[in-house]
Structure formats: structure tokens, C-alpha cells
């Protein structure tokens, strides 16, 4: 009895996810729109004055993208849980952790990548100093996959529940704290003329570790939640 290889199964899942995204391509803009909304609200609350905004621009960007990611966590597993697809993943001859990893990658490509692409535009609205933009983008490139992976563990734990909304946010936020600190902190350090590389390296190291551990944890969590 031979089964599909890891690559075959992974490719099938990725193709499926990209097709699904294409069918509902309007939904792909929602996280970016939400981040834009948060940016607008901050600008309104702070009075719109360039000096004031520039000081907090990188922090507001990070919070806006983190919150947008948090909201999109719901779509990670819920659809598959509801129509029975998640069961088939558990029953498949490839490791569940592998399927979870591919799914998180697909989810990141469709929710976080548009956010990163929209960042220069949003940063301009907040008058982010241009020399901070590269560090901001680097921190987001390393940080958003971390947020997706950590978020996957939380999403997996709550997959069996009825709409959980605030609870998912409450569970995920403590796990997000180190990512936010090093992510926003790296830009803050570069703003003060200090070296941002240290913080970025922490993010990178965390990403490597989480890439291995988070799918395993999320797979275990799915089995627990669906029992």
C-alpha cells in the first residue's frame, strides 16, 4: 500500500488553498483593509500632526498588522473543521503536522503577505521616517510568519468550539508579546540610531524554532480539540 509523498500531499493542499483563495479573491483584501482602518483611527485620535504620528508610526503599524492577523486566524481551520476536511487530514497517510505547516504557509501567503505589501502605503499615511521602512519590513517579514505559526496553535485548540472571537485573542496575545516586542523594538532601536540586527536575529531564531515546533503543537491540539 503506497501513499502520497510529503511533497505530493503538500502540493495538493497548496493548490487547493490557492484555488479557494481565487474563488473568493475579494476576501484577500480584508486584512489589509482592517489594518488601514486601524491606522486611520490612530491618526484621527492623535490629531493627524506629522511629528506626533512619526514618533509612533512603527509601533502603530505593528499593532495594526498584529490585530489584522489575529482576526484572520478564524479562517485558518474553521472552514475545514466544519465540512469534515480536518478529519480527512487526520486520516491521511502524511503527518498532520506537515499538512498544518503547509496550511499555515498558504494562510500566511494569503493574509499576511498582502499586509506586508501594503505596509509602505500605510507607513506613508503615518509619516514613518523613510529610513525606518526597511527595518520595519524586515521585522514584519520575520514576525508575521511567527504570528501565523503561534496563532495556528491557538486556532487549533479552539477549532471545535462555536464562534470564539475574543477568547482566541485573549489566548493568543500573551504568546504574541515576544514577537511584538522584538518586532516593534527592532524598529525603535534603529530609530535611535542603534543596531537593529540583534532584535531581528532573535526574531529569526524564534522563527526557525517555531517552524519546527508549532506545526507539531498545532497537530496535537487539533487531535485534542476534535476528540
Amino acid at each position: 500500500m503506497s501513499g502520497p509523498s510529503l511533497l505530493q500531499a503538500g502540493k495538493a493542499l497548496m493548490v487547493r488553498d490557492l484555488r479557494l483563495l481565487w474563488r473568493r479573491r475579494g476576501d484577500a483584501f480584508q486584512p489589509a483593509l482592517f489594518a488601514l482602518l486601524v491606522v486611520v483611527l490612530f491618526a484621527l485620535a492623535l490629531g493627524g500632526e506629522p511629528q506626533a504620528l512619526a514618533k509612533v508610526a512603527s509601533a502603530v503599524m505593528w499593532v495594526a498588522i498584529l490585530l489584522a492577523g489575529l482576526l484572520s486566524l478564524d479562517t485558518l481551520f474553521r472552514g475545514d473543521a466544519e465540512d469534515g476536511s480536518l478529519e480527512q487530514w487526520i486520516l491521511a497517510p502524511v503527518p498532520l503536522a506537515w499538512l498544518v505547516a503547509v496550511r499555515v504557509l498558504g494562510h500566511w501567503l494569503t493574509t499576511a503577505l498582502p499586509l506586508i505589501l501594503a505596509t509602505p502605503l500605510l507607513a506613508e499615511l503615518l509619516h514613518l521616517p523613510h529610513d525606518q521602512l526597511p527595518v520595519l519590513l524586515a521585522s514584519l517579514a520575520l514576525g508575521t510568519p511567527l504570528l501565523s505559526l503561534l496563532g495556528a496553535v491557538v486556532a487549533a485548540l479552539t477549532v471545535g468550539m462555536r464562534r470564539s472571537g475574543i477568547l482566541v485573542a485573549l489566548l493568543a496575545l500573551p504568546l504574541y508579546v515576544p514577537v511584538l516586542i522584538f518586532g516593534a523594538g527592532s524598529v525603535a532601536r534603529s530609530a535611535e540610531g542603534l543596531d537593529a540586527v540583534g532584535a531581528l536575529l532573535y526574531l529569526g531564531a524564534g522563527l526557525v524554532l517555531t517552524l519546527v515546533l508549532a506545526p507539531l503543537a498545532a497537530a496535537a491540539a487539533i487531535r485534542i480539540a476534535l476528540h
Partner: protein, 247 residues
């Protein structure tokens, strides 16, 4: 079979645990109150701190609470790990009973930390690395409690919340380290809660008394909560009916 192992195995049976908890909880609470009373009395005998004056005395409540808030989280994660690997129902109950107690001690730590800091900082709150980490710890506790209450099936709920506790305990050092790093970004260090004062020999006695006292308090409260959860889960069974029927 080894008598100790046998006793552990028997303890897993709900009626046996009920009797055990009912018997020992009052003792734990009693010892805790006695030890803490002596400890607090001693705390007022110790001379006032040369820098912080009498406000330093709250250290004797703050620090044991802080240490306990962290150790309870570790204990909760340990019980959860045992419950997940060996599927022991009693450990699920014990793990979930730890959460509210740990959360309470975290709140005590935050409040006493705030009271302690007010004379020094001039404000009720400072983003001190220790207090900030305690605050995030509180969120972790609330998350575990929230997840446990949100899932209908009790065993799945305990397993999911327990898994979260394990993930939390693994990430806690990372969180602590990141908060310390974050705090070091600030220009101008705020006065840390400990400042110049180191633990002097005369301070040791009340500190250790309080430390032991709160541990007993934790043990007593854990037994009470676990017993209550145990009874609730077994509500339909005969032995519970007999227990309730007794005068």
C-alpha cells in the same frame, strides 16, 4: 506493588480522593494561617528599611506571592502533562484547580507591587519588567481558565486548557526575556523594586515563614477546589448520593 505507588493509584479513585481532600484541606489552611500570622508579626519586628522605610514591609507579601504565582503555573503545566500522557482524570482536575489560585496570587502580586511602588515611582503603575511579566502571566492564567470554561465536554476542556498551560510554561522564559530586553530599551532606568536592598539575615526569617505559609495555603485551596470539581463531575454516581445523604 510499592506501597507509595499503590497509594497514588488508589488516590485516583474519586471517592478516595474526596475523603483525602476533605481530611487534609482544613489542616493545610490552618497551618498556613498560623505560619503566616507568625511571619507577618516577625515582618513588623524587623527594622525598617533605610531607604524605603516601612513601605518595604509589603515585600513579605509581594515576593512570596510572586514566586508562588510562577510555581503554580509550572505545577499546573506538570499536572496537565501527566493528564495528557497517561490520561489520569484526577490530574486533569488538579491542573484546572490550580488555575484560579494561581491567577489570584498573580493579582495579589500585581496589587502589592503597585502599592509598594507608589512611594518610589509616584504613580500607581510602572512598566517594571517584573510587574509587566506578572501582568502577562495573569493573561495566560485567564486564558487557561477561559478555555476550560468555554468547551462543553469537561475532559476535552481540561485537556485543551492543559495543553495551553504547557505551551504557556514553555514560552514564559521567552516572554520574561523579551520584556527585560524591552525594558532595557528605555533611556533612563526607573528605580527597580529591589533597588539597593539585599536580603539581610534579619529579613530571612519572616520571608521564609511567609513563603512556607503561602505554599500551605495553596495546597489547602487546591484540595478544596479539586474536591469540588471532583464532586461536580461525579454528580450522578452512587457514592456522591450517599455522601450527600449523610447528616
Amino acid at each position: 506493588m510499592n506501597p507509595v505507588l499503590l497509594w497514588f493509584h488508589q488516590l485516583g479513585s474519586p471517592p478516595v480522593f474526596d475523603r483525602f481532600a476533605a481530611r487534609w484541606a482544613p489542616w493545610c489552611h490552618g497551618i498556613a494561617l498560623a505560619v503566616m500570622a507568625v511571619g507577618l508579626w516577625q515582618a513588623f519586628q524587623v527594622p525598617a528599611d533605610y531607604q524605603q522605610g516601612d513601605s518595604f514591609r509589603i515585600f513579605y507579601i509581594h515576593v512570596p506571592s510572586a514566586m508562588l504565582s510562577l510555581s503554580i503555573f509550572a505545577v499546573m503545566a506538570a499536572y496537565s502533562a501527566i493528564a495528557l500522557i497517561w490520561r489520569i482524570k484526577l490530574c486533569e482536575i488538579l491542573a484546572m484547580a490550580c488555575a484560579p489560585i494561581g491567577a489570584a496570587f498573580t493579582v495579589i502580586t500585581l496589587v502589592t507591587g503597585s502599592i509598594w511602588g507608589k512611594p518610589m515611582w509616584g504613580t500607581w503603575w510602572d512598566w517594571d519588567p517584573r510587574l509587566t511579566t506578572e501582568l502577562i502571566l495573569l493573561f495566560l492564567y485567564l486564558g487557561v481558565i477561559g478555555l476550560y470554561n468555554a468547551i462543553d465536554d469537561r475532559r476535552t476542556a481540561a485537556r485543551a486548557a492543559g495543553f495551553l498551560a504547557i505551551v504557556g510554561v514553555a514560552l514564559l522564559p521567552v516572554i520574561k526575556y523579551s520584556v527585560v530586553w524591552w525594558n532595557s530599551l528605555h533611556q533612563g532606568q526607573t528605580i527597580s523594586l529591589f533597588g539597593e536592598s539585599k536580603m539581610d539575615a534579619s529579613m530571612a526569617l519572616p520571608f521564609w515563614l511567609m513563603f512556607v505559609g503561602v505554599q500551605f495555603w495553596f495546597a489547602g485551596s487546591l484540595l478544596v477546589r479539586a474536591r469540588a470539581d471532583n464532586l461536580r463531575r461525579e454528580a450522578g454516581k452512587d457514592w456522591v448520593a450517599r455522601l450527600v445523604a449523610q447528616p
